[in-house]
């Protein structure tokens, strides 16, 4: 039988597009993002001068929803509370920016890759919610 960790990792691997919420002062904002992963660590590439980068510099916490699809609304998905741990300008971005290039990149300004370390991951829609603490 699949362990909770295995279930969570398979959803992360199979779903690249999710939503990412941040706080701007007190006010929440959420947008679609594409993610890649190395185990439970998530990466997202964006423009350096974007609102989300500004928000995350002020408050590094984020909440990510990954794995929900309208085709299968009963499929399991993840609610992830994570913290920004690193902002880097490296080659990983190339892997991501080919995907939905037009939405997530712009021609001006540098691109940065944001690294998020999950704090808790909740597996939803698979019976009672199960929480993985990392």
């Amino acid at each position: 039988m699949e362990t909770l960790k295995e279930k969570v990792l398979s959803i992360i691997k199979d779903h690249k597009i999710g939503t990412m919420a941040t706080l701007n002062g007190r006010h929440p904002y959420v947008r679609y993002m594409t993610f890649t992963n190395e185990d439970f660590t998530l990466y997202a590439t964006t423009t350096e001068d974007s609102q989300k980068v500004y928000d995350l510099n002020e408050n590094p916490y984020t909440h990510i929803l990954l794995g929900y699809t309208k085709e299968d609304m009963d499929a399991p998905y993840l609610e992830i509370t994570a913290k920004l741990s690193e902002v880097k300008d490296d080659s990983l971005k190339l892997k991501i920016t080919n995907f939905f290039k037009d939405v997530f990149t712009s021609e001006d300004g540098g691109m940065v890759t944001l690294q998020f370390d999950p704090i808790t991951i909740k597996l939803m829609n698979d019976g009672e919610p199960q929480e993985l603490k990392l």
């Binding site: 597009i17 706080l23 929440p28 959420v30 679609y32 916490y61 909440h63 037009d102 939405v103």
Partner: protein
């Protein structure tokens, strides 16, 4: 003639019930999928009275919603809605929602009303994004 952005926005509001609602959980962002009904220029959803979302909007009502979630990823066009959320008493709307989602009939559900303050129409290709003034 192609539809105006305002018409497209109204269509998304009326036809797409599933969205992502972000809230402030004591200095940490939180979000969840919710179903919304658009009634007389406000969005409504129901949640358990003792749920995180009800506690969070009671502490701080500011919310941000993405509406128009489709499949693996997103719709060609979707809405970003900034608004204020509060629990409210509107028995007619609440009953309508409970009838529509019968699994919510059992339990202590409260009605959440979101008053949009700003709405932006977004496109997958990143073009033609604009603020929508509905009223």
């Amino acid at each position: 003639m192609s539809k105006s952005n305002k018409e497209i926005a109204l269509q998304i509001l009326n036809e797409n019930s599933i969205g992502v609602m972000a809230t402030n959980n004591n200095g940490v962002p939180n979000s969840r999928y919710m179903t919304f009904d658009y009634v007389e220029s406000k969005l409504y959803t129901v949640a358990l009275e003792d749920s995180d979302v009800v506690r969070e909007i009671t502490e701080y009502g500011g919310t941000h919603i993405l509406l128009g979630y489709e499949g693996e990823g997103m719709l060609e066009t979707f809405l970003e809605i900034e608004g204020n959320a509060a629990t409210t008493l509107n028995d007619a709307v609440k009953q309508k929602l409970l009838d529509k989602y019968p699994k919510h009939a059992d339990g202590n559900f409260v009605l959440i009303q979101v008053t949009p303050t700003r709405m932006r129409i977004m496109n997958k290709d990143g073009k033609n994004q604009e603020e929508i003034q509905l009223y």
